[in-house]
């Protein structure tokens, strides 16, 4: 009984809005007194078909820069996270706090000034520029996850591998990274979601030259074309879910193969 209540609550919170979205995708003229839409139309889908090229380019581009951002943040955070997890030094708490600020400060405050620098360094309006600004803003999520990962892993495996004669790189690749995988996936998922759903930074640094799905979606969201906005929101919603499902099943398969679970 208790579970039924929780289940009902979850359905109400998460499934019902999706149903409303699906309905309004096909009913642009759904008005107040009607509980069920009076008429359905495929106009939103038609628009989608007409613009599929642009939408797909935007989706693809968003996907690519979000994934690259995950890799870049991983590269940025591996070393500092291992230091933070494995040693004590004075001012550590302060430094950790400082390292987390990008996630707390609204990105607009530093993005405006950085835009100027990015123009100077020919990074504005390019894909590397977008990846860099997104990484700069989202690395704390990766950092936190990696610190936790290193702490769970402990020092022993590394010490052991080094003792047995493995070099630094080999230790990292064959011992640490596989053990850190759960932490990387956790941090990477958040970084991916943050990068994928970021609008303003991509817009400012990408300057419209780097297509992004949010850049395509946001103007239409605020338009009064509800059916179109609903359809695009559904795409926006299901793409990451789909991605995580794929990631999750592959991971489980990898773990099984290696005998971890």
């Amino acid at each position: 009984m208790k579970h039924a209540f929780v289940f009902g609550l979850l359905v109400l919170l998460f499934i019902l809005p999706v149903i409303v979205l699906i309905l309004s995708s096909f009913a642009p003229g759904w008005r107040f007194p009607e509980i069920w839409p009076g008429e359905f139309s495929l106009k939103g889908i038609e628009f989608l078909a007409l613009h599929k090229e642009k939408i797909l380019t935007a989706l693809g581009s968003s996907f690519v820069f979000s994934l690259v951002t995950v890799l870049v943040t991983l590269g940025m955070c591996l070393l500092p996270a291992s230091v933070f997890a494995g040693s004590e030094f004075s001012g550590k708490a302060l430094l950790e706090g400082l390292l987390l600020t990008p996630a707390l400060v609204p990105p607009m405050t530093f993005a405006m000034g950085l835009h100027f620098l990015f123009i100077k360094f020919f990074l504005a309006d390019t894909m590397p520029g977008v990846v860099l600004i997104l990484a700069m803003f989202s690395y704390p999520y990766m950092f936190r996850a990696l610190v936790a990962g290193y702490q769970t892993m402990g020092q022993e495996y590394r010490v052991c591998a080094r003792n047995l004669g493995a070099g630094r790189l080999r230790t990292l690749l064959t011992v640490e990274l596989p053990l850190l995988l759960p932490a990387i996936v956790a941090g990477g998922s958040v970084v991916f979601l943050v990068a994928f759903s970021e609008y303003f930074l991509v817009f400012l640094i990408g300057g419209g030259s780097v297509p992004s799905f949010t850049g395509y979606l946001f103007p239409l969201l605020s338009s009064s074309n509800r059916s179109l906005a609903s359809i695009l929101t559904l795409i926006f919603l299901f793409l990451p879910i789909f991605f995580f499902l794929v990631l999750d099943t592959t991971l489980i398969r990898v773990y099984r193969k290696k005998g971890i679970i």
Binding site: G29, R31, M112, G207, P219
Partner: protein, 406 residues
């Protein structure tokens, strides 16, 4: 988005102070070429057009009709990039400050205070409008000499005309109020059934200017440069009008729709009884889209209806200025203006001078079916009152926040 606007405004002010550069800096070599040479130069290139992206039907028109025609005529790849005008003005300011000579934007859709700010900061290329054959042939120079009271000087080329109208559902209201006073009475008699988008939204801002003219005795007094005394004397009448109706508005006036699109949604769901738009065939377009009931009609108040012209402009660092000029010229062609005029596509009013067209062309414009929801162009023209100079506009938007919102 509100926060974005506030911050970008701040940064804008800051940057404007830093990089004020006079605009007249000698003729650009491109402007010395003939239009034929410009055409040859631009053939086969890409043009990136930055414009407001919140209207799906306008996006569709640009992506299909305009893009196809540009491809067919000049083998030009037209790429539309959605971006609000205030945002691209900021972007250009940043680029100017950083000395970026090769930008990414070729053409802008712009008017009003954004044009004024961009031109004053030296962000625009020109004067190019006089070079466009379609502008020379079809546009009456006087009709596009000023943009919100600010001299255009050929730094932007016209491409459409907007006219402020109100929308109602004739199935619900038999005859809408005809004057501002009657409108006020109606609002008070029907609590919660009216609201307007929160300025500085384009449409909401136009609505308060409309009321401003009506409650202070007409537009003529404001047509000269900004007069602080006059403004301080007249604006309290507007604030008291707006504050008087506030308790009777949707949500008791505690909140306003953020932009015109949200008002459209409220109106389409039947939550409020009136919509408003700066595009007369907007209601017809929404009916065709399926969002508004067939019975929606438009009307104007007796005190008059604002109109303005919107334009295209070319940034100082546009990589493909020749291509941008071709596009700007194409948008002024009879074909493009006709296509844009049809409510099926968009319903934006033509900016061409009908007297300069051949009788056959004129007929084609007259034969466009604007649909039952749209007022006739002649009716609109009779009630037309010009836009207020940009300085008043900004003062009104700030004043609204101070006196009405708080």
């Amino acid at each position: 988005m509100r926060r974005t606007k506030g911050i970008s405004l701040l940064i804008f002010c800051f940057l404007s102070l830093v990089i004020y550069i006079p605009t007249q800096a000698g003729q650009h070599p491109l402007l010395e070429k003939t239009f034929r040479q410009i055409e040859e130069q631009a053939e086969g290139t890409e043009v990136r057009w930055y414009m407001f992206g919140g209207w799906a039907h306008v996006n569709a028109w640009v992506d299909t009709y305009a893009a196809d025609e540009m491809k067919k005529r000049y083998d030009i790849e037209l790429n539309r990039v959605p971006m609000d005008a205030s945002v691209f003005v900021n972007k250009l300011l940043n680029e100017k400050a950083a000395g970026k000579e090769q930008g990414t934007i070729d053409l802008l859709w712009i008017n009003g205070e954004n044009f004024k700010n961009a031109k004053e900061a030296g962000l625009l290329f020109g004067p190019f409008a006089g070079k466009l054959p379609n502008s020379q042939d079809y546009v009456a120079p006087r009709s596009v000499a000023h943009d919100f009271g600010y001299p255009v000087d050929g730094y932007e080329a016209p491409w459409g005309r907007a006219h402020f109208v109100l929308e109602y559902d004739s199935a619900e209201i038999a005859s809408p109020p005809q004057t501002v006073v009657a409108f006020k009475e109606w609002i008070k008699a029907n609590p919660g059934r009216f609201t307007y988008p929160q300025p500085p939204d384009f449409t909401g801002s136009a609505f308060i200017r409309q009321i401003f003219y009506a409650v202070t005795g007409g537009h003529e007094q404001y047509m000269q440069a900004f007069d602080q005394d006059l403004f301080s004397r007249q604006s309290p009448k507007l604030w008291s009008f707006l504050n008087e109706i506030e308790p009777w508005l949707w949500q008791k006036g505690q909140t306003y729709p953020q932009d015109s699109a949200r008002l459209d949604s409220l109106f389409s769901r039947g939550e409020v009884a009136f919509g408003m738009s700066y595009h007369p065939p907007h209601a017809q377009n929404k009916i065709l889209e399926g969002a508004y009931p067939e019975t929606v009609r438009t009307f104007m108040l007796e005190e008059g209806s604002l109109y303005n012209t919107h334009y295209t402009a070319i940034p100082f660092n546009a990589p493909n200025k020749a291509g941008a000029m071709l596009l700007s010229n194409f948008l002024l062609s009879v074909e493009a203006q006709l296509s844009k005029y049809s409510p099926q596509n968009w319903g934006d009013f033509p900016v061409l001078d009908m007297d300069r067209l051949s009788p056959k062309e004129r007929n084609r414009f007259q034969n466009v079916n604007l649909g039952p929801a749209t007022l006739r162009p002649a009716e609109l023209a009779r009630a037309a009152v010009p836009e207020i100079p940009a300085a008043y506009l900004e003062a009104l938007e700030q004043g609204w926040e101070e006196h009405v919102l708080r």
